[in-house]
Symmetry: C2
Subunit: 301 residues, 2 copies
């Protein structure tokens, strides 16, 4: 099964209680594709960069066998930049600046040899662009989507149109409440199912995640981390581990989806142990499986 992600590639400046980084590799499409690459190859990445994007990051993505055919390079353009700070609550980022740069005019054109992609992840970008990418695919079997409060507040109609075409929405708890105006998470999840997706996965940070369909309910624990150095990219790493594992099996049964959610949890838990994608650079399949097994034991009855 082939996987495509459309989203951001950027350079992040992040401050947390553990330290800070400047212009470090980041962006939703990056976190997603690196996470997915631990399970499946190649990941087709669709994004845009300026000519200031460091060549070393290209090499890193290539070392993860990520297919960069869809990575558009704008000569004379500047790469997307985001600056943020986290205080004690790892779920709440304070955005210090957002420089869209080349994303200001991003109009994703799917390369001809990507149109037949089976598993599509619409990372957190303008829902109009998510819809446009979707319309260019011909063989999508599973469409998974993320979003954020910016689009829920400012582009609600477009977002609702996108959601009507999506199989799975992955969203965090505060976004789910905002989208549905329901304070109870289970009611929020049920409301989301009426918008189109047949499954919603709500991420709850240190409290794990829940996955609901009309007929199933799964409660996934978090990995018990004692230190969170940098929460940036946790959600996209979760989605990448999730979809990468699913694609590696080709199966979307409830049983496999549950395993995939735990693999997503595992990759996200490693991601937040260090800034940017630093932890992923040394991450091994043995470490992933060890943590999967620890989580499995933590819910055993």
């Amino acid at each position: 099964m082939s996987i495509l992600v459309v989203g951001s590639v950027g350079l992040d400046s992040v401050e947390t209680s553990a330290g800070k980084v400047e212009n470090a590799l980041g962006g939703s499409a990056i976190y997603f594709s690196v996470a997915a690459s631990f399970f499946h190859n190649p990941i087709r990445l669709m994004a845009v960069i300026g000519d200031d994007f460091p060549q070393e990051h290209i090499h890193f993505l290539q070392s993860r066998a990520i297919d960069l055919t869809g990575l558009e390079l704008i000569q004379g353009g500047k790469t997307f930049r985001w600056g943020g700070r986290y205080t004690d609550d790892p779920n709440a980022a304070l955005t210090l600046f957002t420089h869209l740069n080349v994303y200001g005019d991003f109009n994703p054109k799917l390369p001809a040899n990507h149109k037949d992609t089976h598993f599509v992840f619409l990372a957190n970008i303008n829902p109009e662009l998510q819809l446009s990418v979707l319309q260019q695919t011909t063989d999508a079997k599973l469409i998974v989507c993320d979003t954020m409060n910016l689009w829920i507040n400012n582009s609600r109609d477009a977002l609702i149109r996108t959601l009507s075409k999506v199989d799975i929405l992955i969203i965090n708890d505060s976004e789910a409440r905002l989208l549905t105006d329901e304070s109870n998470l289970i009611r929020a999840a049920k409301a989301i199912l009426t918008y189109g997706p047949n499954r919603v996965i709500i991420k709850k940070g240190e409290h794990g995640a829940v996955s609901l369909t009309d007929s199933t309910f799964f409660s996934a624990p978090a990995y018990p981390l004692q230190i969170v150095s940098d929460p940036t990219g946790a959600g996209d790493s979760f989605a990448g581990g999730f979809l990468g594992y699913l694609a590696s099996t080709g199966d979307t049964s409830e049983h496999t989806i549950r395993k995939a959610i735990i693999y997503g949890t595992v990759i996200a838990s490693f991601n937040v142990e260090d800034f940017s994608l630093n932890r992923q650079r040394s991450l091994t399949p043995a470490e992933i499986n060890q943590r999967y097994s620890e989580i499995q034991k933590s819910v055993q009855l």
Copy 2:
């Protein structure tokens, strides 16, 4: 195995988005013992009431086979009263009034035939009183304790002394953070283990609970409730279901503790479906087992 609880018996006036009640049966020892009574009999209840305490409540407790030998009646005294309001967040009660009344002079004297109790639950009262009850027991095999922000802030030294004698502390997430000054829950739990308890169970409301020892970690899901009518007594119902089940087996292995945590979760989930102990009045063992099995399925990998 015999169970003893020392705590409050009171009349609660509670307002939530689902409605309100006035002078309804409440108090930590009541919620605990009624919950425990679904698994084990008799529960020895130690508390104090005034002569204004309605006889119908005594009949209800007797119908649950709760042993009232330790329930002191103060002639001319007034029963403890609490008034509170919940907004959208079911974990945050706003206290409108607390009238200690007969609890102002409460000095628990364990009846002679209760001294040999095996399982002791020190519900949320002044830690000096918790310690005094503990010193009157002769055969305690498992001592479980609750507390709240009032004692953490105002009686910290006494609380730390009590904790040094306790096997299991059951506490909610905000109290665990307050007690240890650690924002990360796993670090907070590890800090609590250094105070004396060999196990800490942290309740997280809609996010379930976690249980930690030096060598084990258990993540318990919540039951996916769509409506919470009245959160009052959820924590004590959890403790009652937990300890009632444990006492019914006589076993305190990790495996049985995990099952007991799920039974505690089940009783707490029924408790919040209605005001006061109304839901418990019609609750059946078949309903309890049905919900246990649903929770078990919700974590199956």
